[in-house]
Assembly symmetry: C2
Homo-oligomer: 153 residues x 2
DNA sequence: TATAATTATATGTTACAACACATAATGTTT
DNA sequence: AAACATTATGTGTTGTAACATATAATTATA
């Protein structure tokens, strides 16, 4: 399937196509992953928060700000995502007595169990680019890094 | 700036990095473009609908379904996006007398003027990948196409 | 032709991003 | 210590994706 067919449009040039292609491909990969998450009744950002809580368990409890820094999306509304996970019993949230502005957030055993049961989602994520060989992925990463160097200066 | 620094994390392998890199880079490019739109008080999907209305002006009026097919996101909620544009006076929306289920949507002169005033946004979009040379963009497109062939089968 | 299937659009819900603003706790300055 | 600044988090709003369901109009079928 070519992107031209799919979008029913034409591109001004390779750069134009590149931008649309990036958006389109990433959206599609995200959707693939989203589908594998959906079976577990959890939204993508909630999953990401749980992953961070598990990944940094040695430094638990974590604050909202710490979690926020580690989200792919820097503007994540972690307060309300944590709300939803709290209501599902997947994490605990307490006032930090050292600094009462902060919240101490920790994954529960229920949360850990859920992540364990989602192991195949993580495996799925690793296969999304499997159509590229090692050299190609490396080249993709090089190109993406190069693109970003441009836009962040 | 490396993505490793930025995400404060490590990657399992190049494939893992590739997926995160795609998500992250695309998000950043999208944000760049979003910023240039914001000055004109219009949201990204609303802009996309206006572009389609202008682009296919020769076939006007267009139906909601026609617009939907041409959106990058196939699940776009075109009905409500059109609502918002209608309220801003940027398009007209009438019942189609041939098939009264359909709506006939057409961009207004106010909508065309807005797009004209946004010409620099389009130019901006074309420069987002300018850090890559022609060969590199071509290679990027090849890799993205190859990724998608995988995930759509 | 009455009925059933399909189509085009609308509406309602949940989760979220991006933003502005609010609030409370803490730190700093005078 | 009182006043001000900063920090951590919360809340409210708008726009949207993804989804389910609704409704009306049209087409196909028995």
């Amino acid at each position: 399937m070519s992107i031209e067919d799919d979008l029913k449009g034409r591109f001004r040039n390779e750069y134009h196509k590149g931008l649309i292609n990036l958006t389109y491909t990433t959206k599609q990969l995200g959707y693939e992953f989203f589908l594998s998450l959906k079976k577990h009744g959890i939204a993508e950002q909630q999953y990401n928060v749980l992953r961070i809580l598990r990944g940094f368990r040695s430094q638990a409890p974590l604050t909202i700000g710490f979690i926020k820094e580690r989200m792919l999306d820097k503007d994540s509304d972690v307060s309300r995502i944590v709300d939803r996970l709290f209501e599902k019993g997947l994490l605990t949230r307490k006032e930090n007595s050292e600094d009462r502005r902060q919240k101490s957030v920790e994954i529960t055993s229920k949360g850990l169990l859920l992540l364990d049961s989602m192991f195949e989602c993580e495996k799925r994520a690793d296969t999304l680019l499997s159509n590229l060989n090692e050299t190609e992925v490396r080249e993709l990463n090089r190109l993406l890094d190069k693109i970003r160097n441009n836009t962040t200066n």
